[in-house]
Amino acid sequence: MDGTGRLCQALAVRLHKGADTERLRARLESRGGGARLWVEDFDEAADGPRATARRERELSRPADPRSGPGLRAVLLRYADGTSDLIVVAHQAVLPEPYVLVRQLLGEHPPAADGLPGADAPGGQPPQARTADRAERLRAALAELDRLPAPDWGLGTEGAATVGRHRFTVPAGGPAPAQLTLRAALGLVLARCTGQSQVVVGAEAGTAVAFSADGAQSVTAYLEQVAGARPADDGPLVGLLTTRTADVITGDGVKAEPFAARPFLDPPHALSLHIADDGSTVLEGRCAYRHAAFGDAAVEWFTGMLATAHRALLTADPATPVGELPLFDEEQRAALARLGGLGRRPAVPGERIEETVGRRAATTPDAPAVCFGEIRLTYRELDGRAARFAARLRELGVAPGDRVGVCLDRSADLVVTLLAVLKAGAAYVPMDPAYPAERLAYTTEDAGLSLVVTEAGGVPERDGLRLVSPAALDRPVALPQPAPAGLSADDAAYVIYTSGSTGRPKGVVVPHRNVAALLAATEEDFRLGGRDVWTLFHSSAFDFSVWEIWGCLMTGGRLVVVPYWASRDPAQFAALLESEQVTVVSQTPSAFAQLMAADRERRVAGAVRLVVFGGEPLDTRPLRFWLDQHPERECRLVNMFGITETTVHVTAQTVTRREALAASRSVGRPLPGWHLYVLDPDGRPLPPGVAGEIHVGGAGVAGHYLNRPELTAQRFLPDPHAPGPMYRSGDRGRLLPDGRLEHLGRLDNQIKLRGFRIELDEIRSRLLEAPGVTAAAVVLRQGQDGDSAGARLDAYVVLGTDAAHLPHGADGSEDRTEDGTARVRQHAARFLPEHMVPATVTALPALPLTPNGNVDTGRLPLPLTGGPAGAGRAGPEPEADDVESRLRTVWEKVFGFRVGLDDDFFSLGGNSLLGVRLLAALKAAGLPGFPLPQLYLHRTVRQLAPVLARQEVPA
């Protein structure tokens, strides 16, 4: 963009009479400066379409003092006898075009010294002073251009175009519009930036700052804005309010200024101009650089400005400004629609086991569940579950009860879950891998009196009955009537989730929600009898709800993945092949490993649908998958979801295009679900602005089990629909097309030395670094929680790509060091200093929780990074004993801190690393040992005596 138009103003004046061309020309020329009058005749009236178009064009032509007078006067003469005089002037030449127009038309012609500054005594000639002024103005613009584009502006990086938009603003208050408009703009900016301190620009080089804190009254706020101090920071948004100039009369002239443009192109990233002609609806125009602002974001922005202005003018002056609405009813409804409100597919009021039962009736011989050699048809599944259910009832389970299920993945797990539902109860799944305390807590909190588990799976307690699946597989003594009065509104399951704070809480989810989930996805995903699903996840993780019931309610075959196969990507990939699995649900972390296995040997050939859930998805690495599994063969769907909203909320099909663009979109809400993005005070935010995601609709669970207070905090009344909305604690923003960008957990926002930092943002940058296939970042406090010693530690998995990068000639150790150094350099190039991780540690794989998320608690301490804040517990042992010397060597080989009891192979060790360990021991002056010994003595503590024995005789 040529910057000249950003420093030019234009004014149009309608000459009703007295358009004496020769007098105008003479007066303009007598002023000096070289400006000439251009005259154009039209065979059309002033309000004709061509004349109107021409006026707009003349009002948009810049005048550059570097190549001419920096001032242009055009007289457009129309067929109806009227004329328009249009003056365009560069600010350095003429700051007030109206003054010149009055001189040209009025009773006082301009003096020959009409050039600005010509009357200043001595010194520079006028042209040189104009050039100086222009240079200063250009420097001010350059300053504005250096401001980074705001995230919430939804601009297009690198775009060179300018967008324009017209809007109206209600007006008519007693205070000057210039003041109230500025105040309204402050409120909108505060909402969009999330900061109460705002900066508003005017002409290039001038800006004011004030506080738009919500607690102040309207009166106090307006006073404060009126006395706003000049700002040091550059403003992103500029507001220029012009007042309609007076009609010029006299000397046979009647001339009426009708269009004033304080800029032709936007001086700011977003420049607003509002013409105050004293009417109750003011015309606004804005122009914005597409690099910083998108069209839709600006439309929302100006809409908010209009609503805020109306609210400021009409509210009780004592109202705190934080309570003024920035969206009117229509805008709020539009926001809600954008968030998916209003799409409610018909949901059958059927319970889960009824739907599965229907499948058993229609396709009794279709395979339902496979686990190793065990194959159950739908008839067998249903029959076996009915047997289990009868036995459960005999054991006293009644409708409305909760029954614990603590089983590893197996065919009987699925049968048991279905049996609990058939008995009219809700299942409470527990993972046998969880610590005993956690299991005890769950049985206690859920008030369980019966848990189906294998021997020793769950701690015993009084009043708690533990039953094995085998014990359920027995004919009942006295057949009991099937439970009556069951409804789809009954609870189907209670899944415990642990938030970042507080005790785990039980989320109670009714049957109807699961039916709604299937109603929302069945058709779109074309789920049906030909599909083969995996049950990969622990039943305690609600992703399994999707896997189990998504499959069995649509007639598919469920392949139960044995524990060992869920831990070993190569085995899992092989299982996908041997079972010809078509639908796979994975967390991104787990999928990254599967993808690596599949890359080495393409095995997942039948997979036609991959559903991601459980954690944020980085779409970029998916290109490798798409290379082998084109979109037409395998659909990748990223789903954002929460246990409290029944597994999923949104769905985004990830195409190569999404992957290339590193899209963070999680898509639109499923039909029946809707969402709102709200600020910390629960007020709505426009598309582009990040806030807390709130979810309403068919998937929202009713409550937490026995936690009325927490329920009241998290399940709030839905402002636009019946039922509750769930306050998720997740950060996100809507895009103008209604898709959601998920931006991580709100509590992933940490503070480090006063900076508010988004850990996910750092993680995302790390993932961009060449060769990085997975990444995690943690904040580590200093010793004893000393915040001064706090630092960010990053962990990366360097993929095979890293091997292709140039590296030291002598082996993979240097490669790893080079790799992490490069990752850190990359981070330093793109992140502000306070966000650059203090350490970057390469790991063979990130440790995962049973749910497949990164287990940050199991990330090792880095080797370097200054005073190890949360370093080894207790004083460092003497450095000369074999144990600590051995540990030092291990740490050198691995590149991170190692505990005395850490297992060599669990840390990522392998035979190659073992060979390097031997070499490193030799270099450190320690004795070697036969490599197989490492398999017998896998920890430092175990290996040290082996070395000590070899050292003594030596």
């Binding site: 040529d2 138009g5 154009e40 021409r54 707009e56 064009r57 005048a63 175009t161």
Partner: protein, 284 residues
């Protein structure tokens, strides 16, 4: 930058066209007006001593402007100025006036040129004839580039179109001066393209083949060339048509179409190139 759907390709752009009184210049001006451009049209508008045929007139220039106003888009402005491209000050004045009126210049078409004095064996050309030819056909274009360069680089965009000829690509008997000048214009194009590319400014050469004399455009080239060669126009045209692979002579509109493309954003990656509009003549 994508064009708005349906917007004319040069809407909002301002162009300077030299030699606009008639012929290819007039055809370009008309095509540009239809494509939505603001126009500054210039011509020498008088005869030159040493050129054996009449050049464009002030009346013809005014007529071109009038045709453009009638054909032009609703918002386009058409202004004219008389200027001799041999006169650097005059060329500067044209550029200043265009910038003053339009605020910017997006396209310059260096179309002014002469075809004669020609028709002589190379060693028979007089020094004055030689210098006149180069002064108008090469240096004229360079003067315009010199005058407009600062504005174009400041704008970080623009397109300069040098109207060369097939005589800029191949030789013609008895036209050594013309052929030399038109070849030089291709060289100027390539070098200027390299100099201005960092500023987003494009420079291309447009090489028309023999253009039919056209009543509407009042073109006279072919007859002047025939006269230089001392052959009847009809015979000359017949000979030329026979040499055209497309079996017809070029019309001024054919050249103007290429000029619109070169001036529009549709050709945004085209610079330093020679665009030939010759019905395949130089492909033989």
């Amino acid at each position: 930058m994508t064009q708005l759907l349906g917007a004319p390709p040069l809407a909002g752009k301002a162009a300077v066209i030299t030699g606009a009184a008639r012929g290819i210049g007039r055809a370009c001006a008309l095509a540009y007006a239809r494509a939505g451009a603001d126009l500054m049209l210039t011509d020498i508008a008088r005869d030159l001593p040493g050129v054996p045929y009449p050049l464009g007139t002030a009346g013809q220039l005014a007529h071109t402007a009038q045709l453009c106003r009638e054909a032009g888009a609703d918002t386009a402005v058409v202004t004219t100025a008389e200027a001799d491209v041999r006169d650097l000050d005059a060329v500067h004045a044209v550029v200043a006036a265009a910038l003053d009126r339009f605020g910017r210049i997006d396209v310059v078409i260096n179309n002014a040129g002469i075809a004669a004095p020609s028709g002589k064996t190379v060693h028979d050309i007089t020094p004055d004839e030689w210098e006149l030819m180069l002064d108008v056909d090469v240096s004229g274009a360079w003067r315009m580039i010199r005058a407009v360069g600062a504005a174009l680089t400041r704008q970080r965009g623009g397109s300069v179109i040098n109207v060369s000829s097939t005589a800029g690509l191949v030789g013609y008997r008895h036209f050594a001066g013309y052929v030399t000048a038109k070849h030089a214009l291709v060289g100027l194009t390539k070098s200027a393209a390299l100099d201005l590319a960092p500023f987003g400014v494009r420079v291309n050469a447009l090489c028309p083949g023999s253009v039919r004399d056209d009543e509407a455009a009042e073109g006279v080239m072919l007859s002047e060339i025939a006269r230089s060669l001392d052959v009847p126009v009809a015979e000359h045209e017949e000979t030329f048509v026979a040499a055209q692979p497309m079996n017809r002579l070029i019309e001024p509109e054919d050249v103007a179409g290429a000029a619109v493309w070169l001036g529009s954003d549709a050709s945004r990656q085209v610079t330093g190139s020679t665009v030939t509009v010759d019905g395949g003549f130089t492909s033989r």
